[in-house]
Amino acid sequence: MLNKLKLPLIGLAFLLLLGLAISLFQTKEPPPLKFDASMGVPIISPPVPLPEVSLLDQDGQPFSQQQFKGKWSLLFFGYTNCPDICPTALQTLSLVAKELQRSDINYVFVTVDPKRDTAAKLKGYVSFFHPDFKGLTGDKTEIDRLTQALGVIYDYEGDVESNDYIVNHYGAILVVDPQARLRAHILPPHTSKKIIKAVESIIDYYGAK
């Protein structure tokens, strides 16, 4: 009689434990994906959640870190008065976008020069490289919250007051996962081939969600 009651209970407990084990396994950080050191793609493991930020997109609409959720994102930080590095990086990213043809990847240019880079200016700038590229600007304090959390460094050189200055800035492309967490840096030099290899390997390994 007692045994007859116990058996289903043990079965239930076993199922519960199994369920717990599966959920633990799923949320557990896998061993970091490793690239050849020469490739220059350090993986962040465990991934770093993006801070709460309140920015503006290229249409002047509010944009928070929540909007990185659901897709992988490739972020590049720069400024539109940048003659060489930023257009080169965005041109390379447009080649990547055309080659990959994936709708589950966002391409995002974040300005570190919000004084000169308004939403309207960013819109003309990013759409020149690809119609789907996003541009982000906003208050400098908000941008700084994002750059500081991600390890993106920059500084101004010249006369900021009279708008005669250049911006020195971090040159890596940052890979953000669909849970809005920093997952990798793709260090320069950038070729579209290298970016494609890195991005496809990362998404294959960590999953599209």
Binding site: N81, P83, D84, G124, E157, H169, Y170, G171, P188, P189
Partner: protein
């Protein structure tokens, strides 16, 4: 008869080639300006410059009626940041070639007098200390084939001359 004619042709073409080099030791090739979004206040120009002479020449500056000013710049990485600095005067040794390319040496071309689109041509005069200005034509293009940032990873960002 035919032999001597051929010999004569070969000789004259050899002379032509030699005299072209003698006349101008500075050769510029693969010149282009990167197309920029409308309203851009700054653009970048690239080329390969060879000094076929024995003596070094110094590139001191550049100008174009199509831009308010042009500076000779170099992008480089230092302390993890992409930075830019003036690269003029730039010494080009005898028999040396220097490539201006994305992520490295470039002409920083400021405030175009009117919007330049792919297919347009920019006329630039390169100025030298020991040589007459060299006029070059730089077509505006979106890109030069598949390219990446071939950056100078030297931590001192030093010139190589």
């Amino acid at each position: 008869m035919i032999k001597s004619l051929l010999a004569g042709l070969t000789l004259s073409s050899a002379i032509a080639t030699t005299s072209a080099f003698a006349a101008d030791p500075i050769q510029v090739s693969d010149a282009w300006v990167r197309a920029a979004p409308p309203g851009a206040s700054v653009m970048a120009g690239y080329f390969e410059i060879s000094n076929n002479g024995m003596d070094w020449v110094t590139l001191t500056g550049a100008n174009s009626p199509q831009f308010t000013s042009i500076e000779i710049h170099q992008s480089y990485m230092e302390g993890g940041m992409m930075q830019m600095k003036s690269a003029a005067p730039l010494v080009i040794d005898g028999h040396q070639t220097i490539r201006f390319e994305p992520g490295s040496y470039h002409l920083m071309m400021m405030k175009p007098t009117k919007t330049l689109k792919p297919g347009d041509t920019v006329h630039v005069s390169l100025e030298f200390e020991q040589h007459n200005p060299v006029m070059i034509e730089m077509p505006v293009k979106k890109m030069a084939g598949e390219e990446g940032m071939m950056m100078n990873m030297n931590h001192d960002g030093g010139h190589h001359h």
